[in-house]
């Protein structure tokens, strides 16, 4: 899958811009704050209906404006050509259109154009709390398995309803338990499918991660992802269902007392290990960075194997702090990847030795003081 044309209106510092992208490698260089990241964030919006940088759509609108519009033309193997539009305004919120027909739910967009992002924020993945890793695995699986995303949405809603019921004070104990049952049922249904899917994907992903870490570092460190959930993990939803019911029973008293849902995948954790040592605790700065890099490259190759269409790969400002050898390894990996790639960098990257910027397959841009110029 690749994007051939992108149009931005009032998107961050781009008031009005159109870009025609090359099918393979696209490199955008320019000083900090020129708007490089925003260009590829716009592509991310059209794939995932949200930013990979900002937490809220409000911050993405150009300062003096009340709306933004993004349009992109995509080419893929299943649907040969389609246009995605994403608009946001302060009054009406966010809307997504595919070939001008509105999508009922934003979540329907996800998975149409698979995307993998490598960016400086990745350090949160290895160093911060479990919610970072849950959102990584959720965005990961949602793109290859849309029913998983539906389960996540259902699960979150059911959990909110259930928490509300747990906080209700007007019912006596037995009434409350009777009223909880229909919600327990749905919590377990959706929750068990989520756990089983996470377990299955993480299991298959191990080998990919191991390979990429090896390739980047050249060191024979053993990477390992440990999936921790409320019970012994399994890839079979039925097995998880049984264990979920048992656990729910076990925690019944505690949940009623604390008035909140305790048992479920919303508290899952994925622990990263390097040679049997927990990365978050014992890893060096460098190991953190390389682990995150390996995770994203592994995601790229996993998607490539799993999906009919090649994912789009966005690399935001990641070449700056790698040593020359690692840059070379990464560049070679990119060139081998047949899909479309976007690279931003403040400094020119030594691509010339590896890539021919012919303007057909590969293109280069320089952005400075609001002007985007092709340099090939």
């Amino acid at each position: 899958m690749h994007i051939t044309w992108l149009k931005l209106q009032n998107f961050r510092n781009h008031t009005e811009r159109e870009v025609e992208w090359a099918p393979h490698l696209n490199v955008v260089t320019g000083p900090n704050g020129a708007g490089k990241t925003n260009l590829i964030d716009a592509i991310h919006y059209l794939c995932m209906s949200r930013s990979f940088v900002a937490n809220s759509d409000r911050y993405v609108v150009h300062e003096d404006q009340s709306f933004f519009i993004l349009k992109g033309l995509f080419h893929g193997s299943i649907r040969s050509e389609f246009e995605v539009t994403c608009s946001y305004s302060k009054g009406e919120g966010k809307k997504v259109f595919v070939n001008d027909s509105p999508l009922e739910r934003l979540s329907d967009l996800i998975g149409r154009v698979p995307v993998v992002v490598l960016c400086p924020e990745d350090r949160k993945l290895t160093s911060e709390g479990p919610s970072e890793r849950r959102s990584f695995i959720d965005a990961f699986i949602s793109q290859i398995n849309p029913p998983y995303l539906q389960d996540l949405i259902d699960y979150r809603k059911v959990r909110r309803q259930r928490n509300n019921l747990l906080q209700e004070f007007q019912y006596d104990r037995s009434t409350k338990e009777a009223y909880l049952e229909p919600w327990d049922q749905q919590l377990v249904d959706a929750g068990a499918r989520i756990v089983a899917k996470r377990n299955q994907v993480i299991k298959q992903f191990q080998e990919y991660l191991h390979q990429q870490y090896d390739m980047i570092t050249g060191l024979k460190h053993r990477t390992f992802l440990e999936y921790q959930t409320f019970c012994e993990p399994s890839s079979d939803p039925e097995t998880i269902r049984d264990r979920y019911w048992d656990k729910l029973e076990e925690y019944r008293e505690k949940e009623l007392e604390r008035e909140v849902t305790i048992v479920g995948p919303h508290r899952d954790e994925i622990v990263f290990y390097l040679d049997d040592k927990e990365l978050r605790r014992y890893g060096s700065q460098g190991q953190h960075r390389l682990f995150a890099l390996a995770l994203k490259l592994a995601q790229l190759f996993y998607f490539t194997d799993e999906l009919d269409d090649l994912p789009i790969f966005l690399l935001d400002d990641v070449f700056g702090d790698l040593d020359p050898h690692k840059i070379e390894v990464l560049l070679n990996a990119l060139i081998d990847h047949a899909g479309q790639i976007f690279v931003t960098s403040a400094n020119p990257i030594p691509f010339e030795e590896y890539v021919n910027f012919d303007g057909e397959k590969n293109r280069r841009w320089q952005i400075e003081e609001g002007v985007l110029e092709r340099r090939d």
């Binding site: 009922e104 739910r105 329907d108 998975g111 849309p146 029913p147 539906q150 259902d154 809603k157 059911v158 909110r160 309803q161 259930r162 509300n164 019921l165 209700e168 019912y171 009777a178 009223y179 049952e181 229909p182 919600w183 049922q185 749905q186």
Partner: protein, 201 residues
């Protein structure tokens, strides 16, 4: 802003409260009504008054009706043993249009939703159970036709549980693919549901 007609302003304010009507539309409707003949506007007003004063609820199925019991519940041509449970009156209209169902209805008037403070006692589940226990109705099948969202599901689960120890078949309408659409255009959630509830050919 200076208001030249307090009466007009009041009408606009009332109209703004209608679903899907903003201030602009309310203004347009009010101005439109002002231009119409007296006869038309009085008829409209009378219709609204009648709507509130004369429309009744069927005491059996709780659907909106001019007579009690409603024409469906009092019809001798309808099966008495089958009850189709729906969320609100507009669902009855929708199902009636299909001509597929020949039993009677039960309108719950909502679905269970703790977030909106709606519990099982706030909708007509007790009334449904009364009908099940009523020997004259001879209920032998309950069809659950609630929306496939989590609130509809929770309500279905709850009712199913209550009916467990009765000699009654509890069924639910199938999840599936809308007629006249192509598979390609169906969202994956619907399609995967349709797969898991497929039936033999």
């Amino acid at each position: 802003m200076q208001v030249t007609s307090e009466i007009l302003e009041r009408a606009i304010e009332q109209l703004t409260k209608l679903p899907g009507t903003g201030r602009k539309s309310a203004q347009r409707i009010a101005m439109h009504l002002l231009k119409q003949s007296d006869d038309y506007v009085f008829k409209l007003a009378q219709a609204l008054i009648d709507l509130k004063e004369s429309v009744d609820h069927c005491s059996i199925c709780h659907n909106i009706s001019d007579q009690n019991p409603c024409s469906i519940c009092s019809s001798v041509k309808r099966h008495t043993g089958i009850i189709c449970v729906v969320e609100d009156p507009k669902d009855v209209y929708t199902i009636e249009k299909t001509g597929e169902f020949n039993g009677r209805y039960h309108v719950l008037g909502g679905t269970i939703s703790p977030l909106d403070n709606i519990g099982p006692d706030d909708i007509r589940i007790k009334e449904l159970m009364d009908r099940v226990h009523d020997e004259e109705e001879e209920v032998n099948e309950i069809i659950l036709a609630l929306n496939p969202d989590s609130e509809g599901e929770a309500t279905s689960y709850y009712i199913n549980k209550l009916l467990k120890h009765h000699e009654i078949d509890v069924t639910r309408i199938a999840y599936g693919i809308p007629m006249g659409t192509e598979l390609e255009y169906i969202d994956e959630a619907t399609l995967s549901r349709a797969f898991s509830s497929r039936n033999s050919f």
